[in-house]
């Protein structure tokens, strides 16, 4: 586990780039380089800027440099019986904390525990003028100034170089248990959305290959109690089902077709688009393997108040993320310019115009 700060080198590189107007492409562990649009520029390697700076389990907060391996963070937390509650996908052993937050991805627990951005408390940021700035902090409740640190989540590095992050962490549940039962997709959607108004210790639900999966977590007794109220047989812990789902290692994801991530309200009925479907997040995040064209997919998804992003296998020079209405697009451009006036960072990674 290394513990080094290279913030001065990074600052110098940004300042030089700013003077010469060179574009920069921020890189951590490279595990999520397949996400977003293709972007070009001189590499700004943050991976050497690493190490846990502060962790006090009693405060439920961890502060670490952006290049710290996600594995190291998770192992450190696990040693104290804690975890990152949003169950982030790694997509490779080299995943870093900074990349995890910049990509803003969350795993199966997301609808029940919150998203990556929900757990961000503060950050240190290198902006497009080469200044080191600090927002938020290490406390749970903090409303001084605009919430800039949460804004960094899912911004794909387009607003600045995340140098450090403070995240809220939580205790690991004492026990977990997964139940599965066979049903149709329509029944699964009804069942999963019905769970939202039931006081059960559910922390993940998914529908895959005709089976509905429900993960319970909490104390031993509470799980046994909940199990009595739900249908289904027990899934062996050895299957590592949720981890394989989170990491896209289930056979569903072995495909050369385009992989779409579709975000809709959980109770949305089955969408009339040809392809293979996997429903995660209780129906709120749906994965689609399909060769259907982009505009058909987006038109249908929009009719259901949702949005679609191209996750793997497709044209990465096109609109990977759902295009924004014009007034919103302009506002986002102005926000980008407020952090990165010279448009140095990850230009085009999210949208061509930012």
């Amino acid at each position: 586990m290394s513990n080094t700060s290279i913030s001065e080198q990074l600052q110098t590189q940004v300042q030089q780039a700013s003077e010469t107007g060179r574009q920069l492409n921020i890189i951590g562990g490279g595990s999520k380089s397949f996400l977003g649009r293709q972007c070009h520029g001189e590499a700004l390697d943050v991976s050497k800027h690493c190490g846990i700076i502060e962790y006090d389990p009693r405060e439920l907060v961890i502060t670490a440099r952006a290049g710290t391996p996600l594995q190291e963070i998770e192992q450190t937390l696990a040693a104290s019986g804690q975890m990152l509650p949003f169950e982030p996908p790694h997509f490779g052993a080299t995943a870093t904390l900074g990349g995890t937050i910049a990509a803003g991805l969350s795993g199966p627990r997301r609808p029940y525990a919150g998203s990556a951005r929900d757990f961000v408390l503060g950050c240190k940021l290198l902006n497009g003028k080469g200044e080191v700035t600090q927002f938020g902090g290490q406390v749970m409740k903090n409303v001084a100034g605009y919430d800039v640190s949460r804004l960094m989540t899912g911004a794909y590095g387009t607003l600045g170089v995340i140098l450090e992050l403070s995240l809220k962490v939580l205790p690991r549940p004492a026990a977990t248990l997964t139940l599965l039962h066979e049903c149709s997709e329509t029944d699964a959607i009804l069942f999963m959305s019905g769970l939202l108004s039931k006081a059960l210790p559910v922390d993940a639900t998914c529908y895959y290959k005709g089976q509905c999966y429900v993960r319970l977590s909490g104390s031993e007794k509470s799980i046994i109690e909940a199990q009595k109220k739900l249908a289904g047989e027990k899934l062996s812990q050895q299957s590592h089902f949720w981890q394989r789902l989170r990491e896209h290692e289930l056979s569903f994801f072995d495909s050369s077709k385009s992989l779409w991530r579709i975000s809709v309200k959980p109770a949305t009925p089955s969408l009339p688009i040809d392809g293979d479907w996997l429903l995660d997040w209780g129906g709120a995040q749906r994965w689609l393997q399909s060769n259907t064209d982009v505009s058909t997919i987006r038109n249908i998804v929009q009719q259901y108040d949702g949005h679609a992003s191209l996750f793997r296998n497709g044209d990465r020079n096109s609109n990977v993320f759902q295009p924004l209405p014009l007034p919103m697009q302009r506002l986002q451009q102005r926000i980008k310019a407020s952090f990165d006036p010279g448009s140095l960072f990850n230009r085009g990674r999210m949208y061509a115009e930012i």
């Binding site: 406390v139 409740k141 989540t153 205790p171 939202l196 006081a199 007794k221 926000i335 407020s338």
Partner: protein, 493 residues
């Protein structure tokens, strides 16, 4: 009358008559008597009459008002129920006060997707009341929840006693509709769990009316837990109570609420609410556990053991729902209870890392002696959010100024120990100078740049929440902290 004043009066008259074209007569107030109820929010030490109050009832009217004010270059302050505690809704003499009080409709409760869509003037508690038939509720519960409205909750990122487990407003909303400074209607976030582009939902939440006018809010609803139970523990030393808080969390338990009160607060609350608190204790903790029946039973056992091990002199579990409500009644009435023992009180709102509690409390007691003002402490212990109540008498000359100086020192100490000047009440007018202590010039400049991205002319609630660098330079000149001049990089005016 100078020519300038005459011109201003003429322009104001023109604006008011244009507003009267947009709205019914009773929705445009200009008489001093009608303006009076809008002169302050919950922080009544700051008062000012606006030029005009408008009370629109449709989104189109809000858009027209904003369009008109934008073209006339007139500033606008939005206001919900006016329960805010930092002067965020303080009007401007030359500005429009835009009240959202008429937007009271619950537009939709959607149990299948566990969400509710509301107009901004819907009261916080009314959401949970309306969702109850579906076994759902809205989690954030600021103490003013009977009166405060969801639009104001979003503007302030309100908290409450259940934040440690259930989060703040920012964690419990999905979508906003806002009217921009120039009258455009914009949707931020979505009914989905995420939305494309930058996460402007987080940026809007807690932005204190500086970025847009909130005209619709979609919130997330949660299933009501099967059971909630509260444990009360008494301590003969506040530091031990503080240790116990860390020990509960170290035992792997996240209580639904974890509140601490010190001796003065206990006694005031007990005299007021007769909650059965031990009057002689130096501190009490209220620890609420919720979840499934089995989980709550197990956690009560663990928490009781931890509390005893941490040196509690007494540990009591509420014997029934009525006693649980009574334990909470004492805590929730702490502010009015303190109001009875002192002519006035000033409520502060810093957050600190919990491990610093003993240090901060002892610093406060030293300051209390120094300033000759008593302090009662009510504390969201679980998330480190302090609410010291400074007792004073506004009728005694100089006492308010002394109280404010005392309060500022507390907030600055919160920053020193790694915390923040405001946990949930917002910066508003009140803590604007303390922003200069918490942030450096580059960060303040960033905040101004964000504001300009939404509101280039600075017409939305100007002068609040983020100080100008000039103001910080002047404040720094008066305020030499630990021998260091704040913002040495700035020119002194």
């Amino acid at each position: 009358m100078s020519a300038d004043v005459a011109r201003t009066n003429q322009q104001q008259a023109k604006l008011i008559s244009a507003l009267r074209q947009l709205l019914p007569a009773e929705a445009v107030l200009t008489d001093a008597e009608d303006l009076r109820p809008f002169e302050c929010d919950g922080l009544s030490v700051y008062r000012r009459l606006p030029m005009v109050v408008v009370l629109p009832e449709t989104v189109t009217q809000v858009q027209s008002i904003m369009h008109l004010c934008f073209n006339a270059g007139v500033p606008v302050v939005a206001r919900g129920a006016g329960t805010g505690l930092s002067g965020g809704a303080l009007p401007l003499e030359d500005g429009v006060l835009l009240s959202l009080a008429k937007f009271k409709q619950i537009l939709d409760i959607d149990p299948d997707n566990a969400m509710a869509t509301l107009q901004p003037g819907v009261r916080n508690l009314a959401i949970s009341e309306a969702a109850a038939v579906h076994n759902l509720y809205y989690a954030p519960d600021p103490s003013s929840q009977i009166a405060c409205t969801i639009g104001g909750n979003v503007a302030e990122n309100s908290g409450g006693v259940h934040c440690l487990k259930y989060g703040l407003t920012v964690h419990n909303i999905l979508q906003l509709k806002i009217v921009t400074v120039d009258g455009e209607l914009l949707t931020i976030g979505g009914a989905t769990l995420d939305s494309p582009g930058y996460d402007l939902l987080a940026l809007m939440t807690g932005s204190e009316g500086m970025l847009g006018i909130i005209v619709e809010v979609t919130v997330k609803l949660l299933a009501k837990p099967e059971r909630a139970q509260v444990v009360l523990a008494a301590f003969d030393d506040v530091a031990k109570a503080g240790e116990a808080v860390g020990a509960i969390i170290a035992a792997g338990i996240i209580p639904a609420g974890l509140e601490m009160m010190d001796k003065l607060a206990i006694q005031a609350a007990e005299d007021f609410a007769h909650a059965g608190y031990p009057r002689d204790a130096a501190a009490i903790l209220l620890c609420e556990l919720d979840g499934s029946n089995a989980e709550v039973s197990e956690q009560i056992m663990t928490v009781r053991d931890v509390l005893k091990y941490s040196g509690a002199t007494e540990v009591r579990t509420a014997k029934d729902e009525a006693e649980r409500q009574l334990f909470w009644k004492g805590r929730k009435s702490a502010f009015p209870a303190v109001g009875r023992i002192s002519p006035d009180y000033y409520c502060m709102d810093g957050t600190i890392p919990r491990r610093q509690l003993a240090k901060v409390l002892s610093y406060m007691s030293k300051l209390s002696d120094e300033y000759g003002l008593a302090v009662a402490n009510v504390f969201h212990a679980g998330d480190g959010n302090l609410h010291p109540l400074i007792l004073f008498d506004a009728n005694k000359p100089g006492e308010l100024q002394r109280t404010e100086a005392f309060g500022r020192k507390i907030l600055e100490f919160c920053v020193d120990v790694g915390g923040t000047i405001t946990g949930e009440h917002g910066v508003g007018m009140e803590k604007i100078d303390q922003m200069c202590v918490q942030f450096q010039a580059a960060e303040l400049s960033q905040f101004h740049a964000i504001k300009a991205a939404f509101d280039p002319e600075g017409l939305l609630n100007p002068g609040k929440a983020v100080p100008t660098l000039h103001r910080c330079a002047e404040f720094g000149a008066m305020h030499v902290h630990n021998g260091q001049l704040a913002h040495p990089e700035l020119e002194r005016f």
